[in-house]
Every structure is written in structure tokens, then in C-alpha cells.
């Protein structure tokens, strides 16, 4: 008995602080937040009663919240597809043994080191929507190059604005996805390629049937990482457009709700956001835990 405590006791004691801190500051506060979201605390006054799911039904019934979700969906799709396609493309190009590979790798990775807020300020100017003689940023560049037809309102476009909003995010994280794919490609033993070539496959077949299947775990990781970042987007949008209706996503909506003292609504949005991210992340975690147990 005594021996038992001696073996696991100190270990437990060492991790106890982090368990306690996570229990309070992560799970405790998630619980606290959900609790607020079930009350009628719509002003600075304390809540008077529990209203059940009313805040959530009101939220999903709102045009404004649906608009925010649509915006988020557009942004996420463009961001995900963009980073995956370009990340894979660059990784394949570099993997073919380009001269100065290290140089290009750094160039593509560097944007990741910049914070969204800092790059957002620059992109705010680059994506200015003025056209013609008033144009600045990218529109000005297109104008000077005689590519006037490429000038567009960027994120000010009511329908596809959020796709333009994803450009800076793509610029920042494609390099990261490239690094992931590159690591994945390097992990594929050379013997497999040689064996395939010996069997006389074409280069396309080699990639299609030998390389890509082995990249799928990397692709999944990249999708999850980029996906959850995309769903939580806040800083980039605040830097580029500020919290305005046209580019509103759940996170910026939560911010305005909080600033107007509507705590219950802000808490509901936070809970929805958590649920949306959980839908993406939890299956992945379950999958990895299972995979680890198998090995």
C-alpha cells in the first residue's frame, strides 16, 4: 500500500498544479460561460432568472448571426482550400530538389512569424477597395500594370468579400502547410519510390498511388490545425475592417455583444464557437489517441 503511493504519489503531486489550473481556468470557466449563456443577463445588472435555451434559439433565428456564420463559412472554405492546394504545390516543387531549397523554404515560412494584427494592418491598405484614379494598394498596382480588369472591391464586396479576407490568412499559413507536407514527403522512404519505378509506373501514377496515400495523415493534421484557426478568426478581421457588419464573424460579433453589456448573448456566441471548433477537433483527438494506442 505504502509502496503504491510512493510510486505514483510524487508524479501526481507534480502534475497536480497543472491539473488544478486547467480545471479552474479552462473547464471551470467554460462551465461558467455556459451558465451565463443560459441566463437573462442582457445588461450590466446581475441575471434574474434562467431562460434555458432561449438565448441560443434567438441567436440562430437572427439574420445577423446567420450572416456571421455564412461569412465564417466562406472564409474557412477559401482559407482551407487555398492553403492546402498551394502548400502541397510548393512542397512538391521544393521536394523535386530545387536549387536554394533552404532559401525558398524560409521565404515561404517567414510570414507565419508575423502576427495577424501586424500583417492585417498592411493588408488593410493592400486590399483598399478604391478603384480607378483613387486606387491604392493592390488595385493601384493592377492599374499601373494595365491590368485594370483585375481591380475589384476586395473585402468590401457584399457577397464574396470574405473570400478576399482569406487572402492574408492564406499568405501567412501556406508556408506552414508546405512545411508539414515537406516533412511528410521526406518521411516516405526512397525505397518505395525506387520499387515503384522499377515496376515501370509513370511519375503521375507514382504520386497518385504511392506518395499521396502516405501523405493523408499529414493532410489531416494540416486540415485540423488550419481549420480550427480559421473558425476562431478575430484579430485579422479586426485589423483589416474593424468590427463592421459586412465582415462580421461569430468572434467579432461576440466582441460587440460583450462591449454593449449583453453578457448572455456574448456567452452564447462563445459557446456556439466552442461547439463548432469541437466538432472539428474532437474527432481528430479521438483518432490520434486510437492511433497511438494501436502502435
Amino acid at each position: 500500500m505504502k509502496r503504491g503511493i510512493r510510486s505514483w504519489g510524487p508524479g501526481l503531486l507534480l502534475v497536480a498544479p497543472s491539473i488544478a489550473v486547467i480545471a479552474i481556468f479552462v473547464y471551470g470557466l467554460i462551465g461558467y460561460n455556459i451558465n451565463i449563456s443560459l441566463t437573462d443577463q442582457h445588461t450590466g445588472l446581475p441575471a434574474t432568472e434562467y431562460v434555458g435555451m432561449d438565448n441560443y434559439t434567438a441567436l440562430f433565428g437572427e439574420d445577423r448571426f446567420q450572416h456571421a456564420l455564412t461569412n465564417l463559412a466562406t472564409y474557412t472554405v477559401v482559407f482551407l482550400v487555398g492553403t492546402m492546394v498551394f502548400g502541397l504545390l510548393w512542397a512538391l516543387l521544393l521536394e523535386r530538389g530545387v536549387r536554394g531549397e533552404g532559401f525558398f523554404r524560409s521565404i515561404y515560412l517567414f510570414p507565419m512569424a508575423v502576427s495577424f494584427i501586424a500583417s492585417g494592418v498592411v493588408w488593410r491598405w493592400l486590399l483598399n477597395s478604391s478603384q480607378g484614379e483613387n486606387a491604392t494598394g493592390l488595385n493601384r498596382l493592377f492599374g499601373t500594370l494595365g491590368l485594370d480588369f483585375l481591380e475589384n472591391p476586395w473585402w468590401s464586396d457584399p457577397k464574396w468579400g470574405m473570400a478576399a479576407m482569406a487572402l492574408p490568412a492564406m499568405w501567412q499559413l501556406t508556408g506552414y502547410v508546405m512545411a508539414l507536407f515537406l516533412a511528410g514527403l521526406r518521411g516516405i522512404p526512397e525505397e518505395l519510390r525506387e520499387a515503384a519505378r522499377m515496376d515501370g509506373v509513370t511519375e503521375f501514377q507514382l504520386y497518385r498511388h504511392v506518395i499521396f496515400p502516405q501523405l493523408s495523415p499529414v493532410a489531416l493534421s494540416a486540415l485540423i490545425i488550419i481549420g480550427h484557426m480559421s473558425l476562431k478568426v478575430f484579430d485579422l478581421i479586426m485589423a483589416i475592417s474593424g468590427s463592421i457588419y459586412q465582415t462580421e464573424v461569430p468572434a467579432t460579433y461576440m466582441w460587440t455583444a460583450l462591449l454593449s453589456f449583453d453578457y448572455a448573448k456574448a456567452a452564447s456566441i462563445a459557446a456556439v464557437l466552442l461547439a463548432v471548433v469541437a466538432v472539428v477537433v474532437v474527432p481528430y483527438l479521438v483518432h490520434t489517441v486510437r492511433a497511438e494506442r494501436r502502435s
Binding site: 510512493r6 510510486s7 504519489g9 510524487p10 508524479g11 503531486l13 507534480l14 497536480a16 498544479p17 442582457h42 445588461t43 450590466g44 445588472l45 439574420d63 445577423r64 450572416h67 488593410r124 486590399l127 483598399n128 477597395s129 478604391s130 478603384q131 483613387n134 472591391p153 473585402w155 468590401s156 457584399p158 475592417s241 474593424g242 463592421i244 457588419y245 459586412q246 462580421e248 460587440t256 455583444a257 462591449l259 454593449s260 453589456f261 449583453d262
Partner: protein
Amino acid sequence: MRLSLSAPSPRRMSLIAGAVVTGLVVAACGGGGGAKETKNVEVFSWWTEGGEKAGLDGLVTTFKKENPDYKFVNAAVAGGAGANAKNVLASRLQSGDPPSSFQAHAGGELADYIKAGQLQDLTSLFEEEGWNDVFPKGVVDLLTHEGKIYSVPANVHRGNLVWANPDVLKKAGISEVPDSIDAWIADMKKLKAKGVKTPLAVATDWTQVHLLETVLIADLGPEAYSGLWNGETDWTSSEVTTALNHYKTLLSFTNTDRSGIDWPDAVKYVTDGRAAYNVMGDWTAGSFKDQGLEQDRDWVWFPVPGTDGVFDFLADSFTLPVGAPNEAGAKAWLKTVGSAEGQQAFNTKKGSIPVRTDAEAADYDAYQQAAMEAFGKDAIVPSLAHGAAASVGWLTDVTSAVGEFGSGQDVAKLQQALADAADKHAG
């Protein structure tokens, strides 16, 4: 894989672990000393640069002269036109750590703090200082919430103003100031025919709300407009529909990059001659002064057509929070804010006008004198976009609806959203 170091003995391990846990507990319990008597007067604001900072400094100098015993502590938070400061303030109030006094827009914006029981009633201070007599009645009425006054106004700004470029107007042959929104729209058509692509410059969502509120004043008149905020005027009425249609037409004369720019850029459209008009508050006059631009040569102003004789009012004010440290010092600060010397020191530097009707006009520049004259005789109505008319929640909902209208252009939908916001927040 083997570590070269030998693992510590279990006994040693438990000692280390114990020490780590104790350390954390001690650290968690530390901090948070008891409250004590203080001579500090901590004033919270978002005035950190330009004319605003200079105004605050002027006010502080006056305060120090009158109250040498107290120490002024500047707790200003920069950025986001006050949004950052309001965030910090909200968390301080919630955790029971209020400053001695904080800045807030006078009027509806205070409603949230009052409802939350975070502000002290200042009615008796107003009586002691005789402010009910020197502040215009319209202003005192706007400050009064359910019979009580909760803040001391430091300055006044006017919102319903058009800033125009005289050269652009001359080229289009426009010499008369239009007297109604319809006449103004006719002028814009002339400008457009003369090749001015964007007769009216506007910026991001909140400046569109600002424009909309002045159109509402023009079409409804001061009384019906004020009634929008206390439930006496129906948001679904046909007069409001007319105003919204006017607003839609005006929006069609504006710059397409509006959502990407803020008010100084929109003003720059006018001074650069790319636009003829911009609707903005009279802090614009202050910024013209900073840029060395001269009235009548570089810019002209007139009340938004149809609102002559109406003063769209907004003001910064200071409050006394519940549980304010050094309450006597905080009251001394509020007295300085409302005093003739304090208002003069603040407003001559900030470029706004004093609330007191007994101020010396000669201390102020030409625009300010005109504004003071108008303030003395015009009908005073509260500004929505600047927190005088409605609570923060109401304003946020209106801003969102106006933002949506910017892309959808659906008047019926906008009117419904405005009516819904009024139902939700009024009373």
C-alpha cells in the same frame, strides 16, 4: 533511450513536488492588499493625444491649482475611439475596483452603468454648484435619468454639420446653402453632372449612422426625432420611411470604399476636392485647425439641410462611481470639470464648446463662437451615434442594421430592424 543522469530518489521527488505546490498556493494567495485612505484622484478617460490630451492637461492644471492637497492620477487608456478604455473600465467596475471618476458620453450611454448600480447620484452636487442654472435646460434634461443626474458634462460637440469644399461647389455653380434634403440631393445631382464622382463622402458603419441620424432630424424635426428615443415617435411611421429613402438616395452619391475608411479619410476626400460634402461632428473643425486649413478658403460649413435651428448634441462627461476611492477628491474633480475656469481651460484646447452659458465668447475661434451662439438658441436633440440618445446595446443594433443596409439597400428591412431595436431597448 537512457538518461545519463540517475533518477532522483522517490523521497527527493516528493519534496520537490511538495515545494512546487506550496509555492503556487502562496503565489495565488498573495496580492490584493486592503483598501486604504488615499489622496490620489484617479481619473479614467480615453484622451491620450492631440487636442483631447491638451484639453485634459488644461483641466488638470486648473484642478491642481484649486486642490493642491490632491494628487491627480491619469488613468487614460488609448485606442479604438474609446472602445479599449470602455473594455478596461467594464472589467474594473465588475471587479469592484472603480477609478475616482471616469469619462463617458453624456446621456443614453450612461444608462447601462446606472442600471447596473455603478454610478452615484449627483443631483445634490448640481444644486450646490448652481449648475442647473448655468447649463442649458435642454442639456440638463438629457442628463437626467428617472429624475436623477449622474454625470458632469465637460464640453459640447455638434453633430449635424456639413463640411464642404468651396472650390468644388463653385465649379458646379452652387452658391446657395440648400434648405432641405431634397434641395441638397438636387445639388448633388448637379455636382455629379459636373463630373464629381462622389459628391458626398462617408466612412465606415458608425459614420453612416451619424449621417442617418442627421437625415432623421431633418425629416422628422427636433421633437419627433427626440421622441424616437423615448417611445413617443413610431419607428414604423411613414415619416421615418421618407427619411430612410432620403438616406438611401444620399448613400448612392457616396464613395464605394466607405467601409474601408474612417472619418478623417472621409474628411480628406472633401479637402482634396474629390468630394464636395461630408457630414461629421465639429471635431472636424479642430482637425482642420491642426492641418492649417482655413475657414472659407479651404472649407465651409453649414447645418445639415433641413436641420437649421437644431443642435444635434453630444458631450463628454465625468461620473462618480459607487465605491470610488477618495470620494471627496473625486467631487473636487467634478467641481473643476463643471466650473467656468475648468471648462475654459478644457474647451479652448480641445476645440469643443463649453456647456456653461456664461462662457466668454472672445476666448474661442470663429467656428466655436458660431457654435456657442447656436447652442444658446437652438433646439437641442441628443446624438445617437455618440451615445447621447440611446444605450450602447441600442446603438450597436442600429449600427449593425445600417451596416447591413450598406450592402443590401433594402429600406423596408432597415426600418423593421430599427423598429425591432427600439422595441428591444426602449424603456
